[in-house]
Structures are given as C-alpha cells and as structure tokens.
Symmetry: C2
Subunit: 698 residues, 2 copies
C-alpha cells in the first residue's frame, strides 16, 4: 500500500527488526520481543544487538547496529533514557526507518525529560526516522507474528487473529482491551500503543489501519488528541474506505480530565471538541471496553444498513419488551410487521405475537419449522435490515440443533442482512454460531446497542457530501477587539444579519430610520464616552411611533447632558426591536488542536443550566448547520412544538454556516466570536444577531 500513511509501514509491518540491548532472558523487557517473535515465527529478519554476546536466544547477536548485514526497517529500543539519544543518532546514521521506544523517563516525568524527548525526536526527524513512543508498550501484529512489545499479557495466551485493528494511547488499557477481545474469541490481530506520542500519533495509526487491507474495523482508545491534520486525514480515509471506527475517549468529566492531567504527558483538546470531530466523521463513541468490543466485533460482519430497522424474534415476551425499551432509547427503529403478514402468522399459530417483537410461542416445540416460517416472514415481509433472535438458554437445550438449522436456512437464503443472536451458550457453541454467520451476544441489550451502531456507520458512510461551506469575502481583522458596531459590520460582509440599526445625528434621521425598520424600535444614546448606557437611562425600549421617536431623541440627549455634561454626543442609535423570536447563542472559539470550532445553543437556561449545546469544526455548509440545530434537546422550541410558531431554521442554519466560514476566513488571529443572542424569527422572517463580540489575538 502506498499513500498518506504508508510512511508507517516500516514501523508497523517491517520486513526486518533489530533489538538494541537484546537480552537472553525471555522475561526481561529487551528479551521479550525476541522470545515472542521466535515463539510465533516472525517471517522477517530478526537481529539481536548486544556487544557482550555472540548469540541471544539462539539467534546470532551483533555487536552494534553498524555490524548488521542489512539495514533493518525498525529498531526496538529499551535502553536507559540517558543513552537513548545516542542510540537514536546511531540508528539514524545507519538509515533505519523507524524506532519503537519502550524507554520511559521523558515527557511523562518532568521538564528535563520533556526537553530530552524533544531533542531525541528532532534527531530522529533529521534522519527521516519515525519514532513510536517513548514510554510506550509498542506494537504487535499476530498475523505477521511481529511483536515489538514487552507486554506480559502473552503469558496467558496469544491474540486471536481477525480483522479488528486496535490503536491505543495507553499501553495498559490497550492490553486490557485486546486481552478482553482474545478471551471473548474476538479477532484483533493488530494493536499499536503510542505512549508519549513524541512523534507517531494515534491519529496516524488510525490512518495506517484504514489503509491496511487486512483490517476492516478500527478500535481506538484515546485520552487526548495532540495533532489534528493526521487524525482528520485518518478519519477521512477510514470513512472513504467504509471502515467503522469505535473509539473510547476518556477525560469526559471534570474529574476524569483532572485524573488525565496527573497521568502521563499532558492532555490536549477539550472533550466536547473531540466529540464534535467524532460526530463529524461518524466515529462511534463507546462508553466502555465491552461496548467497544461488542460493536467492533459486530462490525466485522461488514453489514452497515443506511436505514437500519430491527426485527426481533423471541422466546420471551419479557425480553421482547426489554429489547423494545433499549431500541427506543438508542433510537433504533422497530417497525411493526405488515398487517397481512401478521394475519398470515396468526393463521398459523392463533395465539402468537406477530407484531414485532415476534413470538411463535411454545408451538415451536411441536413444529420446529415455525422458527423458519416466522423468521423468514420477518426478513421478507417485514424487510428488516437487522434481525435479532432472543433464545437465551434455549441455545443450551436439546432442541437447539434443530432450531439452529431452521435459523441458518433463513440466513443462507436471505443474505445481506445483519443476523444476531442473544443466547447463553458455551464458547464452542458460540464459535459455531459465529462461523454460521451470526453475531452472538449474551445480553440482548448489548446486542441492540451494537446493531444500532451498524446503522449509524451505514448512515455516516452514505451521508451525502453535503453543501459546501458558503464562500465569504476575505476578512481583515482590526488590530484590536472591534466595537459591537464594527463587529456587526465585519460579520455583515459574510452575510450575517444583525437587527437593523442606524446611527442618527438628528431626530429627523431617527424617525426616518424607525419608519424604515418598522415599529417598535429601541433607541440608545451614542457616545464613545458613555459606556454603561442603561445606568443613565440612555436606552429606550418599545418606542412605537414617530412622535415617541422625536420625544425619545430629545429625552436621551437631555439625560446624557445632565448625567455626563462633558461627554461627546454623536447622536442616537435606532434599532429595530425584535419580537417573537427564539433566543439562540452562536459562537466560535479557537481550539488549540482543531482550530475554529462553532457552537450552537438556545439562549438563557438552555445554555446556562442544561448545557444543551453542539459543536462543529469550521467551516461547514447550511445542511450541516441545520443538523446541528436539530440535534439539541431544546430543538422542539425552534421547530414549532406545542403550538409555538416555527422559527426560521433555514435562516438560522445559513447564519451559523456563514459564521463558520467567516471564522476560517478571519485566520488564526481570531480567538472567539459571541453572537448572544441571535433571534431566530418566525419562519420566513430571518435570523438576526442582536449583540456581537469578536475577540482578536496577536
């Protein structure tokens, strides 16, 4: 393979491996990789390097990297931190392409360690070498018998080969994960653990797995993303290749973030931002390792329905209810069977439950072909893209072989669906069912979550490219933070509308402006010397006719004069007073990793108390903006719930997407934008920013 991430191939799939300071003791850190590769039969060349030995674990040992008969693709380095730097230099001189560095005592330790790490990476880069770690548990690929790792987990067994690839920032948790996979008989051949990420990032590893034809599904454990372009390119590659990514991202909570910061090297990126990136690319965020493996394993069937529907066949009405509950919670559709199909089934078994969940009842004991008849009707008449059978411990009963035969017949004759079973069965029986083509889960609720995830992948893969972000003119930010009026003028160049307003130097101008906008209007004293206008009575609301505008003009000038006799008075600001709109907040903030991120939420308590907001990387088109708007909990307020008027969601989405394009056009000096509030007016009447704050950096 050759493309964006092929530079990692010498590291992750090398033809030749050198081990610095190779030990004859197979239980020592620098002995283990050799012991593992010998035990499993690594096909490439393996070069122990040890100046004190001529032989290590039965292999010829070399005194130095210079003595090797060929230049190895990768070198494993487990030497002490003090001597790691010269070792890297030496490897670079020899032309080695990549290093796996187990050695700890760098950035995770203290500032001097951080400096040493930076220097070492600079050396590696000067030779064009890639470096995994330091302070990492390394990488293995069971299919190639490549074990550049000192994980002791192989004491209890070798990985089960399969088409899941794992990328983890944490060594201990990566090991935990693949050990769980192995114990459940789930095939995950390849696991890379990135440690301090001084050079190679988890994002790049995802990209390499996405390009790897031996990998269908990618499972990721991450604590924080340090580098955006690699991750974004990786997620794009995976989506284009229709390879689902399941990711466990920790540090969601305040407490978790604190714990993360006291752990290993620093955590970059805000959790909400990482979540927004995951949503953008259809990455499934798993709550725990079990969910991650459930979903990754189910995904290896490569059935990703674009519009997922679930049909359930059950031996327990109670389980049917439970499954329906969970399906509703995760929003997985369980349509009713067509009425004629229900009738047909009821004609066969008078007291069956043919609706969905479907229950053929104990009649199955008398006629096992009913299992096939009922399940087939679900697939053919119900048209479900996913079928889940709840058979619990029936799968350990004497009747099971004949039921299995009936079920298999349906599957064989109706391919292209996702077939899952919730059964209690010993591992051997489970493996047989998996070989038949079923995805086997013990717990029905976990099965539903995994099935739902397949639909989410399908929808993400099928998502139309979407409208391009709007084109906005070049933005020249002022030297320092603009005033509200300046901010609104800048935003107006990108087509972001504010409530109409005019600076008026005479009462006549004020009346003309008010007549132009329509009543009521708001009037504010205009003076660079009066900051807190309302404190001197400098703001008038609900001004509703020409006479009142004239009176108001005089009143404001009089108040200003008496409260601040020396202030320079420029006149009065007249603005249309918006009524009947829904208060929203639109904002931008610059994330140190991912750049400008847009935020949308409803105003007031929704943001303040319920934290009901959504984020997205800038820029994006109006269709994405509308999806964002519709995704928040309070969306019904905009969509006309309970007899409310529908708000102008189209205009609001247009404003949001224009804001995202503006944020990019404004360049890296833009720190943040707050449009609070924006009024989404009734449908057809637009959306208008009422206040605007733009923060500019250096």
């Amino acid at each position: 393979m050759s493309s964006r991430f092929s530079g990692l191939t010498p590291l992750l799939a090398p033809r030749s491996v050198a081990v610095l300071g190779a030990s004859s003791d197979p239980t020592r850190i620098s002995g283990r990789p050799i012991a593992y590769m010998l035990a499993q039969g690594f096909q490439g060349a393996l070069y122990p390097i040890n100046p004190n030995r001529t032989e290590v674990q039965g292999l010829k040992a070399y005194a130095s990297i210079a003595d090797l008969p060929e230049t190895p693709d990768v070198a494993i380095v487990a030497v002490a931190a003090e001597v790691a730097a010269p070792a890297v230099e030496e490897l670079g001189k020899r032309g080695v392409k990549a290093i796996v560095m187990f050695t700890a005592g760098f950035a995770e330790m203290d500032e001097s360690g951080e400096a040493a790490q930076a220097k070492m990476v600079a050396t590696a880069r000067s030779y064009g070498m890639r470096l995994l770690g330091p302070n990492c548990l390394g990488v293995f690929d069971a299919r190639r018998s490549y074990y550049a790792t000192f994980s002791s987990s192989f004491d209890s067994g070798w990985p089960v080969p399969g088409r899941i690839g794992i990328a983890s920032q944490s060594g201990a948790y990566g090991t935990h994960l693949y050990t769980l996979a192995r114990n459940r008989g789930i095939g995950a051949s390849l696991c890379v653990m990135t440690g301090n990420e001084a050079d190679v990032t988890v994002g790049e590893c995802i990209g390499w797995l996405a390009e790897n034809p031996e990998v269908d599904v990618i499972a990721v454990y991450a604590e924080g993303i340090r580098e955006a372009p690699g991750l974004i390119a990786a997620l794009e590659t995976a989506r284009a290749a229709k390879k689902p990514i399941v990711m466990q991202k920790v540090g969601r909570s305040e407490l978790g973030t604190k714990a993360a910061k006291s752990h290993t090297a620093s955590i970059a990126g805000d959790d909400a931002v990482t979540e927004a990136i995951m949503n953008e690319f259809g990455v499934y965020r798993a709550r725990n390792s079990e969910e991650m493996l459930d979903i990754a394993h189910t995904a290896t069937r490569k059935i990703y329905p674009v519009r997922n529907t679930l049909g359930v066949i059950t031996v327990s009405g109670g389980a049917g209810v439970l499954i329906s509950d969970v399906a509703e919670t995760v929003n997985l559709s369980m349509p009713e069977m067509p009425l004629d199909a229900q009738k047909k089934l009821r004609d066969l078994v008078p007291f069956c439950a043919p609706r969905n969940p479907v229950d053929a009842t104990a009649q199955v004991s008398n006629d096992v072909t009913l299992v096939k008849t009922f399940t087939e009707s679900m697939v053919r008449d119900g048209g479900y893209t996913s079928v889940l059978g709840f058979f619990s411990m029936t799968a350990s009963s004497r009747r099971w072989p004949s039921i299995r035969e009936q079920l298999n017949a349906v599957m064989t004759e109706n391919p292209g669906r996702l077939y899952a079973l919730s059964v209690i069965i010993p591992p051997a029986g489970r493996d047989e069912l998996e070989a038949d083509g079923w995805v086997v889960h013990e717990d029905p609720t976990r099965a539903v979550v995994a099935i739902d995830a397949m639909g989410r992948f399908g929808a993400a893969f099928a998502a139309a490219q979407g409208a391009p972000p709007p084109t906005v003119p070049a933005v020249t930010l002022p030297a320092k933070n603009p005033s509200e009026a300046e901010a609104k003028r800048l935003l107006a160049t990108a087509g972001i509308a504010s409530a109409p307003e005019a600076e008026c130097a005479t009462a006549d101008q004020a009346v003309a402006a008010a007549e132009r906008f329509g009543y009521p209007v708001v009037m504010k004293i205009l003076s660079p010397d009066i900051v807190h206008k309302s404190e001197i009575g400098g703001v008038l609301l609900d001004v509703s006719d020409a006479a009142s505008v004239r009176d108001g003009y005089a009143l404001l000038l009089e108040r200003a004069k008496s409260a601040a006799p020396t202030a320079k008075i420029d006149g009065v600001l007249v603005a249309k007073q918006l009524k009947g709109g829904v208060e929203c907040i639109l904002g931008i903030h610059r994330d140190p990793v991912f750049g400008p991120m847009a935020m949308f939420g409803l105003g007031g308590i929704f943001v303040e108390i319920l934290k009901d907001v959504v984020f997205r990387r800038c820029p994006f088109g109006a269709d994405v903006a509308e999806d964002m708007i519709r995704s928040i909990k309070g969306a019904p307020l905009l969509l006309g719930a309970r007899g409310r008027k529908k708000a102008d969601v189209k205009a609001l989405a247009e404003t949001l997407s224009r804001l995202s394009a503006f944020a990019v056009a404004a360049g890296p000096r833009l720190q943040s934008i707050d449009l609070n509030p924006v009024f989404a007016m009734p449908e057809g009447d637009g959306a208008f920013a009422v206040d605007a704050v733009i923060e500019v950096g250096d």
Copy 2:
C-alpha cells in the same frame, strides 16, 4: 418465620409436594419437577399422582389427591386448562395450602381464558389456597433442592447456591437471569416466577424473600405491578431488614409498553409511577441483566456505605481516567487523597500519582510491598469507604500472587470497607479472589456502577424516617368538578395558598382589596354567564394604582354590558399580580394501582419539551417534597443559579407536601389536581397557586 408474608411458605418452602399427572418421562413438563427433586435430593415428601401408574420415576404413585397419606403443602399442576378448575377444587377439599400452576391458556390467551382464570382463583381462595401462576415456570430453591419448575435450563447445570433471591414475572427472563448468574459463579439459590399473577404477585414474593433469613439480596424482573399493598409492604420489609433490591423493570419506552401489551396478560401501572415507588424505597433500577447481577453480587458483601467515597488504585493511568469519568457520571464521590498522605507517597516513589486515582507506577515491580503501602494509605489516610483496584491482566501474570498477598493484607487489617478488583483472570482465579473477600469485575466501568449502588442502598437504609406528612382537615369534595375559585378555597383549607384575590361588588371594595394586596393587581369581570373573559376584554393586567383600579372597574362593567347585555354581573375579581416568581407545576393524578401520585415540575418548556418532572406516592412530608424539587434537572433555576434570586423552596415544598396530604384526605373520588402555574416567589415570599383545577369522579 412468621409474619406478613409467611402465608407463602407452603408454596415457596414446602415440606411436602404433590405432582398432579406426574409423568414417568423425566423430560416431560409433569415429569421434570420429580426428576429434578430426585436428582438433587429434596428432603421433604414427594407424592406423584397418576391414576394409571403405581410407580413414577421410582417413587410410589397415588391414584388421586384423596389417596395421599398426608396433606401436602403444595401441589404442582400441569394438567390441561380444561381440567384445571376441577383439580383446584379437589386440592382445596383435601386442604392443600398452595398450588404451582404451569398450565397456560388463561388470561394471557383471550377473554374466555380470563374468565376461567378468575373462576379458578375464586375457587382456590374459597379454600384459603394460594396459587402461583397460571402460565408460570414455577419456583425453585437449590438450597432445599425444591424444584417446582419445568425449566429446561437445568440441562446445562444446577444453580450455584448463594444469598441472592430472584423474583420474576417472566419465566423465560427469570431463567435467563439465573442462568447468567450461574455461569458467572454468582450464587442465587432461589428463583420464583409468577407468570399470570392470578393470585400470588411478584410484590408478595419480594416480601417473602425479604423475610427469609437465607436471602440477603433480592433481584427482581417486572413488567408491570398489578397490586400495590403487597409490593409496598414488601419494600418496607426489605428496607427495614436492610436487604437491597435490584430491579429490572421493562416497559419504560412507548415501544416497550406496546410490546408488553401484546405479551402475556395486561400491564398495569405507568412506568413513571413504578419508578417513583422504586425511588421512594431505594430500589435500584438496573438497565440490564448484567448490571442487575453486578449489583446484586456486589451487595452480597453487605457493605452499604451511607456516604460512599471511592479510592482507586490502578496500574493504568488511562483506566484511572475512565473510572473517574464513570464515577462523575453516576455521581460517586472520588475525593482527593489528603495532601500530607500524597506527600508521603511521593517521598516513597517520586513520580507516582498519589492524588486518586493512585498509581504506584512500575516501581511495584522492584518492591511489591508498595502495593500494600499505597493501598493502606488510601484506606487509612484517604478514608475511602470503597476501594477499587484496576489490575487488568496483571492478575494473569507471574507477579500476581505476591500482589494479591499485599492486597489481602490491607483488606484483612482494615475490614468494613468494600473491596473490589477489576481484573482479567480465569474463573478459578476469580473464585479465589472472591473467597479472599474481593468483589471481582472484569470491566472497571461496571465495577464503578456497582460500587455506587452500594452507597445508594446505604443512603436509603439510613434515610431518616422523615417529617410526617402534614395533617390536613377532612376534605368534602363537591358532587361535580368545582370552579377555580371553589377549588382554591378547598385547597386553602389544607394550607395551600393561592395568589390573594377578592370578589369585589363595588369600585371602593376593589380599591381596598388592591391596597391590601399591593400593586400591581389583575382585575377580571365576575359573571357566571361570561366564560371566556379575555375574549370580551374582561381581564386587565398590570393595574398599578388606585385611580387605575377605579377606571378599570368601570371599564370592565362597561365592556361586559356591551358584549353580554343580559349577563348577570357580580362585580370584579381583584387578584395580586405576582412578579419575579419561578413558574412551577404541581399536580396529582390517581394511579389505578398506587392511588394518588404527586407530580412536580417547572413550568413551560421544562414540562412540555424536556419532560423534567418527578413523581411521588402521596402523602409525604416537606423534606421529601424538597428532595423532589431538588432532584429535577431544572432545579438550579429555583436554587439561585447564575445570579438568579433564590426561590422560596421551603414554601414550595410545604405546598407540595400539603397537596399530597390533601389528595389522600380527598378520598378515592379525587381524580386529579392541576396547579398550573404555581409561582415560587423569592425566598421568604412564599409560593402561590395562580390557577387550580380539581377533577372529581363518581
């Protein structure tokens, strides 16, 4: 044992068992109970009844119930539905105390089945017999080798004895549950499955388990509660005995409820109501069977901290972050270690993480006693009531025996805490750790949820009895729905305040009332003939001085006269106009099972769009009411979030608890009450109903 539920003892722990229509075939429904009891050695008397045989499965068979040498405690009935009724009659005549009825074809089938079931239960009751089922999978108690069940699950193994008791409405799901328990090595000796619940309910079974000294923890699966007094008494008994209940209640979703209704006999009770009952008694609602077993198993350690805190010792920083995330999600406190203890640990291991999660780092490899030093410091210095060790696959490594020794020393020397491990280990190793005293979970997130549940049980057991519900005078409901003013007067007798208002027959009276209340006031035309006051301009808001009240009085009379010349005019209603309050909704509705239930929520979007409401069985005291108020998501709005004024939560709670007492005092004719809105005024200013609707039934 002898008490409220001892009437079920002949059914659930009989000394003698008869089997009607006993079969010689141990695989047939009426052969299985005998086969199981013979295989496991039931200690009581076992009487097969079969007129066609003298011997069944090696036991002497009897021709009829009349021929038995003694009256059995319980009879197992698996005869056809048509002959079930005469069998019940015959058993009653003989004086049998209880029946386990497997037979299906009753209420779950159709109306005639329902009628047959009702008749059969009436017969049983006329003889003082209790009946489990019909259409049930029965009951077993492995400790007594009592198997009144035809479950085929014993094909794959016998239950693991232990101190968990299971009560399930669903046979298939009950079996699923205890099979899962058995496969995980979790001891659940006793399982009762109630099927159609024609007589014995799941509530009563919970009560019997709560009184059973051989049971410490009760696991329940329910689809709907049909009978309140038994369940309430059972929950009270369990709470008094400090026996935790974990319950899986399905039918939470709309879809699930539909599925439930198409299943077995009908579902009673609304899910939100059942959830309120669970909250009232500290029953933990499990999301799925795994969570139920995790929690039930953890609870068998009988450590229920009243104020639970979690200390985590980990070999993986990443897992520490994950655990912190979950702890925050479930609201389990993970306080930081005391600073001097952190310093002490850092002096021992310079780069350790001593905060919590605590990580002794790889130094442990050099000095395994660090495991004890660190863990002990957590217990003694940190004072955590619960300790979770994340050791993942370290527990399968060569180092584990010495680590285990260190950990065990801490546990032995510091009893009374909850000790849990997250490890990946084969079943034999797990069983050893469990025998040591650890609760073993593979997944750390599931461990956290289970540990948190122990604190919830502790808090529920320790909860003060609470203030008694307020005493309210007797309530005499009118014959039909009262008017708003009548409703407010009725409620006022219970001390529920409405916004002050007065019926005024003259302008002078109106002014006097307004002066008494303080301005502004609302004025409404008073006429039995004018229903829609606002349509004729019959409501004036913001009336703010005496002159305006006089003008308003005249204006309202004039408008009424012109709009409805023939209407009888009684004068004008003057009411204080409330400003600055938080809009709440207080309500009562009569649940068919549990009687009057109180509801509290914030007004407007909180109820309409976010469904942010809480329910509670009536009556209750003001402290419970305050807990309800504080439990909703929008509570910060009342508690002074973000610079808002604090609302008068005490007065609001008092109003809510008085409403609950009123609802009970009003008796069964009360259908519902709606106080919408109630304004919770700023602290010290009270809470007032602005509208009141009382619905009265026959």
